[in-house]
Amino acid sequence: MPIIDAVLGDFFWRALMGGLGVALIAGPLGCFVVWRRMAYFGDTLAHSALLGIALSFLISVPLNVGVIVTCVVLAIALVLFSRSKTLATDTLLGILAHSALAIGLVTLSFMPDIRVDLTGLLFGDLLAMSRNDLLWIYGGAVLILVLLTVLWRGLLMSTIHEELARVEGIPVERLRLVLMLMFSIVIAVAMKIVGVLLITALLIIPAATARRLAGNPEHMVVLAILFGFIAVSGGLTMSWHLDTPAGPSVVVTGFAVFLLVYGSARQVQR
C-alpha cells in the first residue's frame, strides 16, 4: 500500500511509529515499576543494555537479542543476589548499574573497528529507527500485551500482597521472572528511541502522571499509555523541529505533562 510505504519511508514517521509502540508497552510496565518500587532496578537493567550491545558485537548476534539476553541474565542474577541479603538491595543495584554501564563502555572502546554512535545509544536517535526495528518493537509489543492480559490477575495480586497471592496459588516467583523478561524486551526495543540512560524515565513519568487521575489499576495503565503517547509524539516533534536529541526531548515533554497534571488536577483518592 502506497500510504504505508510513504509512512515507513520517512524516518520521522518511522521514529514516531516506533515511539508510540514503545509507549504502548512502557505504560503498563511502567505502572508495575512504580507499584513495585522497581525504579532503580529498571535503571540497572537499562544500563546493562550497553554491555549487551558490546557483547553482541563481540559474538556477532543481533543487537536486540544480545540486549535481551544480557538484561535477563542480569535480572536473574539480581534476584538471586538480593536473596542472599549480604548487601542492601540499593547498594547492590548501584554497584551493578554503574559497573554494567562502565564495562559496556570499556568493552566498546576495545573494538575500534566497530563504529558505534555512542550518543545515540545513550540518549536516543530520531534517525536510527529502521523498518527492522519497527518489526522488533511491534513484535515485542504484541508479545508483552498478550502476556500482560493473560497474567494480569496474578501479576496484580502478587504486587498487592505477595504472601496472600502465594497462598491463593499464584506462582509469584515465576511471574516475577516473566515481568523481568518483559522489562528486558522493553529496554531492548526502547533503547533506539530514548537511549539507555533515559528508558526508566519513559517507564516512570507517564505512570506517575497517570496515578494522579486514576481510580483503579487498569485505569492507571490506560492513562499511562496515553501520557506516554503524548510524551513520545511531543518529544519527537520537538526533536525534529529544534534538532534536540530525541530521548531527552521525549523525557522533557513527559515531565512537562507531569507538572501540568500535578499542578492542576485534583488528586483522585483511590
Binding site: 495480586m157 498487592i160 500482597h161 496472600l164 481510580g215 483503579n216 489499576p217 483522585v268 483511590r270
Partner: protein, 258 residues
C-alpha cells in the same frame, strides 16, 4: 467422623540452624478454633506460614487435606500509595463472582465500603476487608495472623465473635495468632502456647493454671486470666499433648460457652 484439615508431625523450621519452630505436633479439624499465643519471636508467624505453604519446612511432616481451600488473613494490608485500588476491585481479584464478593463483605459488615478506596480504610475496616477477601474463597481453613491488630477493644471482641460465628456458618477450621490474651481466653476453643516448641496447650480455663504457661507469661497474667472460666461440662487433662491426642470433643466445646 473426623475431618482433619491439617496435620503437623514433629514439624521443625530452622533459620540458620536455629530452630524457630521446634518439633511441633498439631492437628486441626473442621470446626476447631485454635489460637496460637506466645511471646515475641516464639515462631508463631513462622508456624502458620509453614501451614500456609509459604515457609519451607526443615524437618517433620505437614499433611494437608486434598483440595483444601485456605483463606488467609495476613497481619497487614500495606498498599503502595501509587497503586489505586477500590474495595470492589480488591475483592474481585479473588477470582470470585461479584455476588460472592458482596456476600462476603456483608458477612464482615463492610459492604457499604464497596466503592471506597482501600487507601481510605481504617485499621479495623482493613481487617474486615481482608477477612471478607478470605471468606469469598469459601475456605475450609481460615488462617488469621493477629486479626485484631489496630482494632480498638470493643472492635476486638466483636471481631472474635464474628470469627466464631463464621466458623459455625462455614463449618471451617480456624487457626489464629493473637496477642490479646484476655480475649483469646474468652473466645477460643483451644489455645496453644508456643515458644519455639509447644510449651502447653489445651482449653482456656485449664491452660492458665499450667506451670509452663505461668512461666512464659508470668504469674500475674496467668492469675488474671484464670477469671475467664469457660463452663465446660467436662474436663481435660492438660499434658500428653491434648491437641494431637485422640479424644475429639470439639463439638461439645463449641456450644458449651455462655
Amino acid at each position: 467422623m473426623t475431618d482433619t484439615l491439617v496435620e503437623l508431625h514433629q514439624l521443625t523450621v530452622n533459620f540458620d540452624d536455629r530452630p524457630v519452630v521446634d518439633h511441633v505436633d498439631l492437628r486441626v479439624q473442621r470446626g476447631d478454633i485454635i489460637t496460637i499465643i506466645g511471646p515475641n519471636g516464639a515462631g508463631k508467624t513462622t508456624l502458620i506460614k509453614a501451614i500456609l505453604g509459604i515457609q519451607p519446612v526443615s524437618d517433620g511432616t505437614l499433611t494437608i487435606a486434598p483440595r483444601l481451600t485456605i483463606g488467609y488473613v495476613p497481619q497487614h494490608l500495606t498498599l503502595e500509595t501509587t497503586l489505586p485500588l477500590s474495595v470492589r476491585r480488591f475483592m474481585l481479584l479473588s477470582g470470585r463472582s461479584h455476588q460472592e464478593c458482596v456476600e462476603a463483605l456483608t458477612k464482615t459488615g463492610v459492604e457499604h465500603l464497596i466503592n471506597a478506596s482501600v487507601h481510605r480504610l481504617s485499621g479495623g475496616e482493613k481487617q474486615r476487608l481482608l477477612l471478607a477477601r478470605a471468606l469469598a474463597r469459601r475456605p475450609d481453613l481460615l488462617v488469621l495472623d493477629e486479626p485484631a491488630q489496630g482494632v480498638d477493644i470493643n472492635g476486638q471482641a466483636a471481631l472474635y465473635e464474628l470469627i466464631r460465628s463464621l466458623r459455625d456458618e462455614l463449618n471451617c477450621g480456624v487457626i489464629m495468632i493473637s496477642h490479646d490474651l484476655h480475649l483469646v481466653m474468652a473466645a477460643t476453643d483451644k489455645v496453644i502456647c508456643l515458644n519455639q516448641h509447644i510449651c502447653c496447650s489445651g482449653y482456656p480455663a485449664d491452660i492458665s493454671h499450667d506451670p509452663a504457661f505461668i512461666e512464659t507469661f508470668g504469674r500475674p497474667v496467668a492469675e488474671s486470666l484464670a477469671v475467664y472460666h469457660h463452663h465446660h461440662n467436662h474436663s481435660h487433662d492438660l499434658h500428653g499433648d491434648v491437641v494431637s491426642a485422640d479424644h475429639d470433643d470439639h463439638a461439645e466445646c463449641s456450644h458449651a460457652h455462655h
